[in-house]
Amino acid sequence: MPPHILERVATAGDPALRDIARRTLALSAGVRSERRIAPVRPAAPTEDFVPDRTIKDAGYRTELPGDTVRAEGGPATGDPVADQSYEWLGTTFDFFEAAYRRNSIDGAGLPLISTVHYGRDYDNAFWNGEQMVYGDGDGVLFNAFTASLDVTGHELTHGVTQYAANLEYYGQAGALNESMSDVFGVLVKQWHLGQQAADADWLVGAELLTDEIAGVALRSMKEPGTAYDDPRLGKDPQPGHMDGYVDTYRDNGGVHINSGIPNRAFYLVATALGGNAWEKAGKIWYDTLTGGKLSATADFATFAATTVVTAAALHGDDAPEVAAVREGWAGVGVQA
């Protein structure tokens, strides 16, 4: 049994909640994960990238991809969930273009597909290797997973990672994969809001929890382990330092737990460097993820060392940015 405070929804006294939980649990879909190697044609420096979005509606069923309700440039559907998903996809696409000159998930204009209204009371969102999928939440514990911009940023970044370093979704490489998604997820939000590192809340999924839940978000990059503490959800299990690293086979080796460690390292680097986090710290992380030097099975120490190499390549060996990156990793107990 991992040192993880357990959720108690399934044994909660409220029968309606138990029923909701039951329906959320057993879902299936023909999902699969695959890596596609696409040759990327370098874009002209002035080329304006344009997204190719398609929003599909699963109609509360679990078959993917569902029926198209809005294609790129099409009129608003009137369904706030579908229209919000369309907007957040556009914002995330624009962020990767503006911050890193990346043309979509694969760097080559890959169409963006999101399916909304997946399942009934489905408390989740995921990337299935080809598209994003969003549940509406149960309305008691969780709101719709389209509520937070950083969730769209998170899921889309799973696609970016798949086409870049393709970090294996297990153990430390898997926790790094999760952390990449949290990092660029919050950076999309900060960019959208025009927030500097010092002014941001560094929360993941702040809009997902209903008012019923004792918590501020699902994860905190600033203070992992403090996002929620609720009788029904349990307590945020994330460590923010290697001292609290959780050895478990569950959750693909704790990918959603130990991601707190690299998440906090990024927060420390970003706040040390100051200004807009997507510009300096984000660029170092982005170049590390996409630079071709990172192994798919990289552990925390390997990733950390690669961020130092990236920072030196961007700013020079003796630059303060390099020192800040080393100190950030030292702050979470990882030797870079």
């Binding site: 959720e7 057993a26 408390d123 899921e155």
Partner: protein, 81 residues
């Protein structure tokens, strides 16, 4: 037979546990008879999908959300519900 199910993963990373004994649960007993844990395919590495760890009297399997179908889906549903 004692059946334990743990759901992990998902974007939220919130665990959920359930346990039941077929000696006191005739519905579970019928479901267990229809389930073959050895026939379950590996879960795959799909970011943020739910994973289900299933333990039937010490015989175990991890099932991905995408592979959760038929009697196994009913069993997971029953034990976690």
């Amino acid at each position: 037979m004692r059946v334990r199910v743990v759901r992990t993963g998902g974007f939220a990373g919130v665990e959920r546990h359930g346990e039941s004994d077929s000696a006191r649960d005739p519905v579970l007993a019928r479901l267990v008879d229809r389930v073959d844990l050895d026939a379950v395919p590996p879960p795959g590495r799909i970011p943020d999908q739910y994973l289900y760890d299933i333990d039937i009297d010490g015989s175990t399997a991890t099932v991905g959300e995408a592979q959760l179908n038929g009697p196994l889906r009913e069993l997971v549903h029953h034990v976690l519900g």
